[in-house]
């Protein structure tokens, strides 16, 4: 891959649990050019954008992890987070199908206003309202 490229593909097999994997391959130590300890030229892979079922996963993308294959032992952490791959090795991102539902749930459950406690209270009163509708109203809720 050179410069910026877009890849579009369709996954026909709709299993629930999925992993998107992007791997940097073929980078050699000589691709990183150093001058007085500073990298002046490098080869890297930057994930600009991932659209999943037409959803720009701009925030969820940071759940992806890379397990870099370093040029030298103890060159860095075992796994890295981020949208840039500086070493060979697979970057993996877990998601579930249907993707929109999974991602909506992911974003929603992180909010204070949508806590499980609040949802439980809401569900209790929602049930109460439905019971009352079906008991007292002419228009029933099915």
């Amino acid at each position: 891959m050179r410069e910026q490229q877009s890849i579009r593909f369709t996954v026909d097999h709709l299993s629930t649990r999925n992993i998107i994997s992007i791997e940097m391959m073929g980078k050699l130590p000589k691709d990183s050019v150093l001058n007085e300890g500073k990298i002046v030229k490098d080869k890297k892979l930057k994930i600009v954008k991932i659209l999943l079922d037409d959803v720009d996963i701009k925030n969820y993308i940071y759940k992806g992890r890379q397990r870099p294959i370093y040029h030298h032992e103890n060159q860095g952490p075992k796994t890295t987070i981020g949208d840039q791959l500086f070493f060979n090795g697979p970057w993996k991102l877990y998601y579930e199908n249907p993707a929109r539902l999974f991602l909506a749930h992911y974003h929603g459950c992180g909010q204070k206003i949508n806590s499980p406690e609040k949802q439980a209270i809401k569900n209790r009163y929602l049930k109460h309202v439905i019971t009352s509708i079906n008991l007292h109203n002419d228009k029933k809720y099915k």
Partner: protein, 497 residues
């Protein structure tokens, strides 16, 4: 003991997301004129006292104006004790004046109870009330318990009241709208503990700021223009200066605008976002701000509109979307269409600007087909919830028609009031057959279940359903003829189309 010139308090029910602005705004202005002022947020004391299972019912208790609803004795005793605590706190500062902020109709019940308790106690304080919940038809019920009332903006009226200029227009009447907001003293939240609020911002302190008053639109379901007939605004320079000063002196970088809409005046808005974006670039302060926002037609916006909005720190903008149906939006006089919203939120998504929707279920002209279009909107915009652009939606407690809404004056009439005299469920559409309380609550339940299914976070749904449960309970009693005599379930049917 030295006397405080005035103590202001906010009372329930107001949502618990942010400290009530009115006491802090009034305190700030009066202090700039040399008065000693103290503020209390009694609204948040409800959350603090009833946190957990009881909070929904305690909130509903204050929200429901009709005292006929039944609540557990244990809850009523705790509420009674809480109001005694409020009175103790107010009198402990030995004020010359006690100002009670009645934010909306939802605060009237608490106001009545607080006034009763104050009357039982010995003191020589002058009591006055103000806020959007203060309206003529309600004043008669409390007139003997107050010394003064103020209808409309309070800063200048309070200043004159404390000075003893009782002839000032607005004291015991409606004030003239303040034209120069930049001349008012800045709000002072110094008395508030900002930690108990139920904010979207995880563990971050948020203060409110006012950029404008009034609205550039005249939607049928909103009475803002009754309170502020003209749209007035502060200069962007004074706004940025207040934000800068708050950041530099208190380290607070998150702000919430009390405005009916932040982007009402595009010129002032663009100056403000440009100034705040530059402030963020220069200082790395990461200022964020939120508040009520309107959808605008893209053709009217400059090319930098969205990028500067993002860079200035826009966060979780509350957009009055109301409906997914163009027919309903047109009747509401929203001035935008579903297609405008699609374009607008797509730009938010591209520019990493977050927002939430505010909806109205059961508008008097909303047909079943219109309602389905709202459900379609939730489906179509689920992708923005999935991307993190939309934080959620408020579905509200169905369309309420209170006295004074522009909707009342529209001809031909689109609704008639039932004999229940209850603003929320006591009306029936004259346009859409069978659109009454039963139909509205049915649609509200469907909307909830669709949002739950699509994983749309529904803001305040716990408290809304607590309130809906109580309203439905009252409706059932009314329908059975228990709470009123001579019940006529249907309105004058000759007016129905």
């Amino acid at each position: 003991m030295e006397r405080v010139d005035c103590v202001f308090c906010s009372i329930p029910f107001i949502e618990y997301y942010l400290p009530a602005a009115a006491p802090a705004v009034l305190k700030g202005h009066l202090q700039s004129k040399g008065f000693v002022v103290k503020t209390f947020d009694f609204n948040i004391s409800v959350k603090e006292k009833f946190e957990g299972d009881e909070l929904v019912m305690a909130s509903a208790y204050f929200q429901l104006n009709r005292p006929k609803s039944k609540f557990h004795d244990k809850l009523l005793i705790k509420i009674d004790n809480l109001i005694n605590e409020w009175v103790d706190k107010l009198l402990a500062v030995n004020p010359r004046f006690i100002g009670i902020s009645v934010f909306s109709n939802d605060s009237r019940r608490a106001c009545e109870m607080l006034l009763d308790k104050l009357k039982e106690r010995e003191h020589d304080c002058k009591i006055f009330i103000g806020g959007m919940g203060v309206q003529e038809e309600w004043l008669d019920t409390i007139r003997d318990k107050i010394d003064y009332y103020i209808m409309g903006e309070g800063e200048l009226a309070c200043e004159n009241l404390l000075k003893g200029n009782l002839e000032f227009k607005g004291i015991n009447g409606r004030v003239d709208q303040i034209k120069d907001l930049s001349s008012l003293g800045p709000a002072d939240y110094g008395d508030y503990d900002l930690t108990p609020y139920e904010t979207f911002y995880q563990d971050r302190k948020v203060v409110q700021i006012t950029g404008s008053r009034g609205c550039v639109r005249n939607c049928t379901f909103c009475d803002i223009n009754t309170h502020w007939p003209s749209f007035t605004w502060r200069s962007s320079e004074s706004l940025i200066e207040e934000i800068r000063r708050t950041y530099e002196t208190h380290g607070i970088s998150d702000f919430f605008f009390t405005d009916s809409l932040i982007n009402g005046n595009l010129k002032v808005y663009m100056n403000m976002v440009e100034g705040l974006a530059n402030f963020n670039y220069e200082t790395k302060a990461n200022i964020t701000w939120g508040g009520q926002y309107i959808v605008r037609k893209s053709k009217n916006l400059s090319k930098d509109y969205f990028s500067l909005t993002r860079d200035s720190g826009a966060y979780n903008l509350a957009m009055g979307v109301e409906s997914g149906s163009n027919a309903v939006l047109e009747h509401m006089r929203k001035g935008v269409t579903r297609e405008d919203l699609d374009e607008f939120v797509e730009s938010f998504d591209k520019h990493n600007i977050t927002c939430q929707y505010m909806m109205i279920i059961g508008y008097p002209t909303e047909t079943e087909n219109d309602f389905e279009k709202t459900l379609d909107l939730f489906h179509d915009h689920q992708k923005y919830v999935a991307s993190g652009t939309i934080h959620g939606t408020t579905l509200n407690t169905t369309m309420a028609i209170y006295n004074g809404l522009p909707l009342e004056k529209i001809e031909p009439k689109v609704f008639v009031r039932d004999k229940s005299n209850e603003g929320s469920w006591g009306w029936t559409s004259t346009i859409v057959p069978n659109l009454d309380w039963e139909e509205r609550i049915r649609r509200r339940v469907i909307a909830q279940e669709v949002c739950d299914m699509l994983k749309w976070p529904t803001i305040s749904a716990d408290r809304e359903f607590g309130q809906l449960a109580k309203k439905q309970e009252n409706y059932a009693l009314w329908k059975k003829g228990i709470t009123s005599t001579n019940i006529d379930l249907q309105p004058d049917v000759s007016q129905l189309s």
